[in-house]
Each structure stands twice: as structure tokens, then as C-alpha cells.
């Protein structure tokens, strides 16, 4: 590793490795747990890289020797006569890079700009469902303990395909026909970060109340999910929830070891 014998090159190498790890490595982590991979948003990549860069600057400068060593190649390129070519390349490349980045940021695009969303909503302790108060805390799917699971599952399947399909998709992956039109996008149930993280009562709350039922803390956003309590019965919702878990192979969080604090979307 002769190449890595100066602090400057080491720092550069760490930065490159960090970038590769963050931008390409992190997407490989979810599959280890059997979840679909997902890219890291650019804003987060930038934030992480800036943190790493700050750390690197601290490292190269917390010791006098290293700091001098680190600065030497930079100084050399800037002043030494025999590095004229490198200097010229640098003097052209840096402005071009800056210009390119700036252009990339201001060029007209068809996609909407990144949207901010506030903190995830916390579920209420109880809701009113079609006129009855339901305690969400500790609530289990009642269909799991009565009747045949298969029958419920069939009902759930029917309900899903009649109502949920257009947005949440044939594969329950949030890629239905209309999905690309919505922001926030419909939930991908296959993702381990969604229903697998939630209790069934939380899912029930979100299905029953939909976008309009989001608490004010969840703003600003504009989920297009309808409030299904107006269209479905409680049993239909419970059975479609059953179907979601059965079909994706996920297990709901149970109350003994799970918190329903994390939100959806």
C-alpha cells in the first residue's frame, strides 16, 4: 500500500470509502434482513459525507506532524514549478466542477423538489371507529382468535383487491397503478420498515382513518389514503390486515415486546 503513505491520500481514501459505503453499501444492509434494498437520499449522503469530512479534518490536524504532511501535497501543487500541469488541471477542474454542480442544481427539472415532512405521528391511545370507542393500546386482531384464518384471509384478499390494489399494488409493494402520482408514496408492505414494525392496531388506525385522520403533528403532508372506516366494516379491515401480514410473510409486532410508536410512510 505504497499509495496510502501520506495523510492526504489516506484522508482521500477514507472519504472515497465512506462515500462508497454510504451511497452503495447502506443499500445492501436491508437485504441482509430480508428487506428490499433502498437508496440513501442525496441530502442524507451529503450530510454524512460532510460529517466524515469534518472528522477527517480533525484527524489530519490534531497532530502537528500529520498536519504539515497533509498540507504538503496541496502546497506543492500550488507552488512548485514542476507541478505546473497538475496545477493547471486543478485550476480548470475545480471551477468546472463547481459550475457543473451549480448547473445540476438550477437546471429545470420535471420532478418536484424534495419535500419536508415533520416528525412521524404517534398513534392515539384510542379511536372512535364508526361510533364506537376502540382502545388501540394492547388491541390484538380479533380475527386471529376466532373462526378459520383461511376464511378471513380470503375475505381480506377480496377486500384488498377491490380497494387497495390501485395504489398499493398487486405485489403489495406500494407500486400500484396510481402509486407514482402520490406524494407521500403508498406504503410498501413488503418493506421490513413498514407493517413489520407495527402492531396490528396501529395498522388498523391508519387504515380506518387514512390521510385525513393524521394528527396535526404529522403535517405538512398530504397523504391521499382515504379514511376507510366510511367504506369498510371493522371485520373487513381486520381481515385485510390479516391478509397483508400473511401475504408478505411478516409478523405483526405484539404488545409484549413492541411499541407502536413508529409511524407509517
Amino acid at each position: 500500500m505504497r499509495f496510502l503513505d501520506t495523510p492526504f491520500r489516506q484522508a482521500l481514501a477514507v472519504l472515497v470509502v465512506a462515500y462508497v459505503l454510504i451511497d452503495f453499501g447502506i443499500p445492501y444492509i436491508p437485504p441482509l434482513f430480508g428487506v428490499d434494498s433502498a437508496p440513501v437520499p442525496n441530502t442524507v449522503v451529503l450530510q454524512y459525507l460532510l460529517t466524515v469530512l469534518a472528522g477527517l479534518l480533525l484527524w489530519v490536524s490534531d497532530n502537528d506532524e500529520r498536519w504539515t504532511e497533509f498540507k504538503r501535497p496541496i502546497q506543492e501543487v500550488l507552488v512548485r514549478p514542476d507541478k505546473r500541469v497538475g496545477r493547471a488541471v486543478l485550476l480548470v477542474a475545480v471551477p468546472v466542477l463547481v459550475a457543473f454542480v451549480t448547473w445540476g442544481r438550477v437546471k429545470p427539472e420535471v420532478t418536484a423538489p424534495p419535500s419536508f415532512r415533520s416528525i412521524h405521528p404517534a398513534p392515539p391511545r384510542s379511536i372512535t371507529f364508526q361510533g364506537e370507542t376502540m382502545q388501540l393500546a394492547g388491541l390484538e386482531n380479533p380475527l386471529r382468535s376466532e373462526g378459520s384464518l383461511e376464511a378471513h384471509n380470503e375475505v381480506g384478499k377480496r377486500v384488498y383487491y377491490q380497494n387497495c390494489l390501485p395504489c398499493h399494488g398487486d405485489a403489495l409493494d406500494g407500486l400500484g397503478h396510481y402509486a407514482h402520482g402520490f406524494n407521500p408514496a403508498p406504503l410498501n408492505f413488503q418493506d421490513v420498515g413498514t407493517i413489520a414494525q407495527l402492531t396490528e392496531s396501529f395498522v388498523f388506525w391508519r387504515v380506518a382513518k387514512g390521510g385525513p385522520g393524521l394528527p396535526r403533528e404529522g403535517t405538512p403532508w398530504n397523504s391521499a389514503m382515504p379514511a376507510w372506516e366510511n367504506l369498510l366494516t371493522a371485520d373487513e379491515i381486520w381481515s385485510v390486515i390479516l391478509f397483508l401480514y400473511e401475504q408478505t410473510g411478516n409478523d405483526p409486532r405484539t404488545w409484549e415486546e413492541a411499541g407502536a410508536e413508529e409511524g407509517e410512510h
Binding site: A38, V44, T51, G55, D62, N63, D64, I119, H120, T194
Partner: protein, 584 residues
């Protein structure tokens, strides 16, 4: 001074109660920036100076008593130099206090009259104490060389204590006025005439004590940070090695005081937050989950900067300690822990992402990073960062020492084990937190903090015992510090000052459109509470004015300065520097 004017103004206005009622609906108008910003800037600057003026005497007396006990003259000199800074900042505090009072009287006469009618007596007392405080300060500073020996020295030290008592009392009184605006007692309604408000219940209101304690600690942090920046400036401008050595040492102590006090500050903040929730749910929700929730993201960013910079200063400082090269290879691992900590600590739960990214992620949660965005991960990160910072201090302290006690090897292993156990406890509860309901999880943060704090205490005790009579590998070469480290001190001071302004905005902003929460409504044009972006601009301007004035005042103070360093202030005793003011 400011209170004198205040009391006078109050008297004039009180003479005509009918007029006062009329005034309740009147507001002045300040050109260009508006009334709100004018009062905001005046109050913030007054508070910056006041915090400095209250924080510094605390460690001045501690430095003085260390000097008396150890017989080391440089501590005495340090205390005296602190006091000199105090003297020159004192008038700035009073000036800004006067500006604040005039701003209130002219721009918010209604509010002022209302408060004056309730707090008139305490305002008079305030003025009185202010006189005594000034007198004590002058005696303390100008009597320094007079009462130098024996019992007279102790008398002089007693004056320092008295100075602190006056200062603290003054702050407690003023705190009651502003906490009353936040949390007036329940029996006060919009219809209650101010004259009918029970004085003591208004004075000792729900958030008074939490704010007192919170400010007391924060003043120490702030004072330490500003002293550090002052020392850094003098260091950079120094012309002789003696000066450099002295100010290097002073900067180290300022930084030490600031960081040590910072570690206990969150507990005071927690208490304050709990009192706010108990006083009024709505207020608490507004603060943590309502329109202010993004403020805590900014706070997280600032705290990340504090951790990185504070550790960096220590690591660079190791370069001037013989024997520190033993430990320097480890700093990069600590840096890795800190950088990872900051990354986790600042990971947003829901990401800012474009439409394409959101659809690729399947929602605004990232399947992996979303896991890092929740409380469990953040508590774990911050506790590990505290632990790492403490380790930095420990290595710094140990750098040039060679323990002589027989059990030193075992002792070090026990210390290491304690660190390991604390880190494991923190990690265990951090990971376990994902598998329990939120209610249980909140309790976990207490265990994590307790593990860290008890480790800190136990390790310090062990360390003190272990290093008894330790031999030295050489004295700290005070003054041989690269300028980079001094810029770190500047960044620390700016960050602390800015953070103070930000938290002040949070405290004051949660009242929303009320002068006195749910009692006296703000009907002015500026009633709406501004967004964070605007607030940050005002805070930055305040910090800039403050630092500019401090620079000017210290420069002026330095003009008439007798050379405070006579001989070499460096290295009188190997371990002296490691028992700094306010430390052990």
C-alpha cells in the same frame, strides 16, 4: 442602574392607574427592524453579558481558593484576571439592561406597567442589591493586592463569595419576572388586576426554580467558554513565550470548566421541561412536538459541533505533554466513535428526499437509516459521545504521569472494564429499546445516563487515588500549542453563545402570542412567533454584536493593564494544571 431606571419608570406609571390601563393596549414602534426585534436584541445582549458576569465570579473564587490552598501564585493571578474581565463587562451588562428597560418602557408600555405593578417591591430590592454587588466587586478587585496575606486573604476570598451571593440573588429576582410571564400562577386570569396578584405566588411560580438552576449552570458553561475565547485571543496575539504559556493554560481551564458544566446541564433542562409540561400540557406539546419541533434538530447539530470541537482541543493539546504520544494513536478510534455518534445523532427520522427517492425507498422511511432516526439510537449515540469525551479528558490528565502505586496496572484494567461495562450497558439498552413499548423505552434513557455518570465518578475516584505521588514524564509545555487549537476555542465560544440564544428563543417562543401566558395577550403587529430561520438571523446578529463588544471591552481593558504575568507562569508543579478551577 437599569433597575433604578426601571423602578423610576414604574413609579411614574403607577401614579396614574387609569393611564396604565389605557397603556395596556398601546405599543411603540421601532423603525426598520420592529419592536419585537429591538426588545429581543436588547434582552439577548443583556443576558449574554449578565450570564458572563454571573458565571465568571463562580470560578474566580474557586481559582482563588485553590491558589490559597496550594500556595501556587498562578491560580491567584488567574482569579484576578477573571475578575478584571468581570469589571469591564459589568458596565456593559448595566448598559444593555438600561437599553432593555428603555426599550420595554417605550415599545411595550402596557406590559411593563403590568409587570411593574406586580413586582414593584422586588424591583426596588433588586436595585439595592445591585448597589451592594457593585461595591463588593470593586472591593474584591481593588483590594486584591491590599488583602494579600494570612487572614486578610481569607477575608478577601469571603468578599468573592459575597459577590457570588449578590449576583445569584439578583439573577433569581430577575428570573421571577420572566418566569411569571411564562407560567403565571393558576389563580391569575385575564381579569385579575395586577395589583391583586399575590406577590409571592407570582414570584415563586412554577418554572422559577428550574430556570434558576438551569441558568446558574449555563452561566458557568458560558463564562468558561468566553474566558476560553479570551485566552485564545490573547494567546494568538501574545508576543512572549510567558504570555503564551499563561494564556494557553487559561484557555485550557476555561474549556475544562465549560465542558464539565455542560455535562450536567441536560438534567436541569429535563427538570425545566417536565415543569413546563406540568404547568400546561399545551405549552409542552408546542415546545417538543408542535411548531418548535424542528428547533431540536438544529440543537442536535450544534451539540455535535461541541463534542467534536471539545475533543479536538484536547487531542491537539496532547502534543505539548511529554508522554502523551503513548495515547495519541488511540485518538483516531475515539474520533471514529465520535463521528459515528454524530452521524447517528443527526440522522433525521424522516428524510428530506425527492419524489423519485421516496418512491425508491417506499416511503419517507429508509428501511435501514430510519432505524437510526429514533430516540433509542440517539440516546445511545449521545451517551457514547459523553463517554468518549470523558476518556479524552482522562488520557489528557494521565498523559505525562507515571503512577507509582503498586496496583496501578490492575487499577487501569478496572477503569477500562468500567468503561467497557458502561458502553455495553448503553448499547444494550439502546438495542433493547427497539423491542419494548415506548413507555419502557423512555425509562431506559435513565439507565443509560446513570451507567455513564456512575462510571465517570468511579473512574475519577480511582484515578485520583492511583495517581497519588505519581512521577512525571516531564512538564506540560504550556504555550507550545498550534494556533488551530485556539480557533477551536473560538468555535466553542461561538457555538455556546449561539446555542444559548437558540434556547432562549425556545423558552420565550413557547408563550406564543402572549405577553403573560394566557393572562395578557400580545395584540401588537409582532404577535406571531417567528419561524426558526428568522430567529436564527436575529440570534446570529446578537452573537456578532456581543462578540464585537466583548472584543472591544477586553481590548480597552488591556490598554491600561499592568503586566499581569511577571515571571514564567508555566509549570510550577507537574500536576497543578490538572486540577483546574471548578474541577475536582
Amino acid at each position: 442602574m437599569r433597575s433604578l431606571i426601571g423602578a423610576l419608570a414604574a413609579l411614574v406609571l403607577l401614579a396614574e392607574p387609569a393611564l396604565a390601563q389605557e397603556a395596556a393596549r398601546r405599543y411603540g414602534d421601532f423603525p426598520v427592524i420592529g419592536s419585537r426585534a429591538a426588545v429581543w436584541v436588547a434582552a439577548q445582549l443583556h443576558l449574554f453579558f449578565a450570564a458572563f458576569v454571573l458565571g465568571v465570579p463562580m470560578f474566580a473564587v474557586v481559582a482563588e481558593v485553590i491558589g490559597i490552598k496550594s500556595g501556587e501564585e498562578r491560580f491567584d493571578k488567574l482569579a484576578k484576571e477573571f475578575t478584571r474581565l468581570l469589571l469591564v463587562s459589568y458596565s456593559a451588562t448595566a448598559v444593555w439592561g438600561a437599553v432593555l428597560v428603555f426599550a420595554l418602557v417605550t415599545l411595550y408600555p402596557g406590559v411593563w406597567t403590568y409587570l411593574a405593578e406586580i413586582f414593584d417591591v422586588s424591583m426596588w430590592v433588586y436595585v439595592g442589591i445591585f448597589f451592594f454587588e457593585s461595591a463588593t466587586l470593586y472591593l474584591y478587585y481593588y483590594g486584591w493586592d491590599l488583602w494579600k496575606e494570612g487572614r486578610a486573604k481569607w477575608f478577601h476570598w469571603g468578599l468573592g463569595i459575597l459577590l457570588n451571593l449578590w449576583g445569584t440573588t439578583v439573577m433569581f429576582i430577575a428570573n421571577s419576572w420572566l418566569t411569571y410571564m411564562m407560567s403565571p400562577p393558576a389563580e391569575v386570569t385575564p381579569d385579575t388586576a395586577p395589583g391583586m396578584v399575590q406577590f409571592w405566588s407570582a414570584f415563586a411560580n412554577a418554572t422559577w426554580m428550574p430556570i434558576n438552576i438551569h441558568r446558574l449552570i449555563a452561566n458557568v458553561v458560558f463564562g468558561g467558554a468566553i474566558v476560553g475565547a479570551y485566552a485564545a485571543y490573547r494567546f494568538l496575539m501574545a508576543e512572549t513565550d510567558e504570555e503564551r504559556a499563561h494564556y494557553d493554560w487559561m484557555g485550557y481551564i476555561g474549556n475544562f470548566v465549560a465542558i464539565s458544566a455542560l455535562i450536567v446541564l441536560p438534567f436541569a433542562g429535563y427538570w425545566l421541561g417536565r415543569e413546563i409540561y406540568e404547568f400546561n400540557q399545551q405549552m409542552g406539546i408546542t415546545m417538543m412536538g408542535g411548531f418548535m419541533s424542528w428547533l431540536w434538530i438544529v440543537q442536535a447539530f450544534l451539540i455535535g459541533v461541541l463534542f467534536l470541537t471539545g475533543n479536538y482541543y484536547l487531542w491537539v493539546g496532547m502534543g505539548r505533554i511529554p508522554g502523551a504520544e503513548r495515547f495519541q494513536p488511540y485518538t483516531k478510534y475515539m474520533l471514529v466513535v465520535l463521528v459515528l455518534g454524530v452521524i447517528v445523532w443527526a440522522t433525521p427520522h424522516s428524510m428530506i428526499a425527492s419524489r423519485d427517492e421516496i418512491s425508491a425507498m417506499g416511503g419517507q422511511f429508509h428501511p435501514f437509516l430510519g432505524v437510526l432516526g429514533v430516540m433509542s439510537a440517539k440516546n445511545t449515540a449521545v451517551n457514547l459521545m459523553i463517554l468518549t469525551t470523558f476518556l479524552s479528558f482522562l488520557l489528557y490528565r494521565r498523559a505525562n504521569k507515571e503512577p507509582v502505586v503498586g496496583w496501578a496496572g490492575r487499577g487501569t484494567m478496572v477503569q477500562g472494564a468500567l468503561f467497557g461495562i458502561a458502553a455495553l450497558v448503553v448499547l444494550f439498552y439502546g438495542v433493547y429499546g427497539y423491542f419494548v413499548p415506548a413507555i419502557v423505552r423512555i425509562g431506559f434513557s435513565v439507565y443509560q445516563v446513570l451507567a455513564v455518570l456512575s462510571t465517570i465518578v468511579a473512574v475519577v475516584v480511582l484515578d485520583v487515588l492511583m495517581l497519588r505521588g505519581a512521577t512525571s514524564r516531564g512538564e506540560i509545555r504550556w504555550g507550545q500549542m498550534p494556533p488551530r487549537s485556539q480557533y477551536a476555542l473560538f468555535i466553542l465560544a461561538v457555538t455556546f453563545t449561539w446555542l444559548m440564544g437558540l434556547m432562549g428563543f425556545a423558552r420565550s417562543g413557547i408563550r406564543q402570542h402572549w405577553h403573560v401566558f394566557e393572562v395578557m395577550r400580545d395584540t401588537s403587529v409582532d404577535a406571531a412567533t417567528p419561524a426558526l430561520g428568522y430567529a436564527s438571523v436575529v440570534i446570529s446578529v446578537c452573537v456578532l454584536i456581543f462578540l464585537g463588544m466583548v472584543a472591544f471591552i477586553f481590548w480597552v481593558g488591556g490598554l491600561a493593564e499592568k503586566p499581569i504575568i511577571t515571571k514564567a507562569a508555566r509549570g510550577e508543579g507537574p500536576h497543578a494544571a490538572l486540577q483546574p478551577a471548578g474541577g475536582d
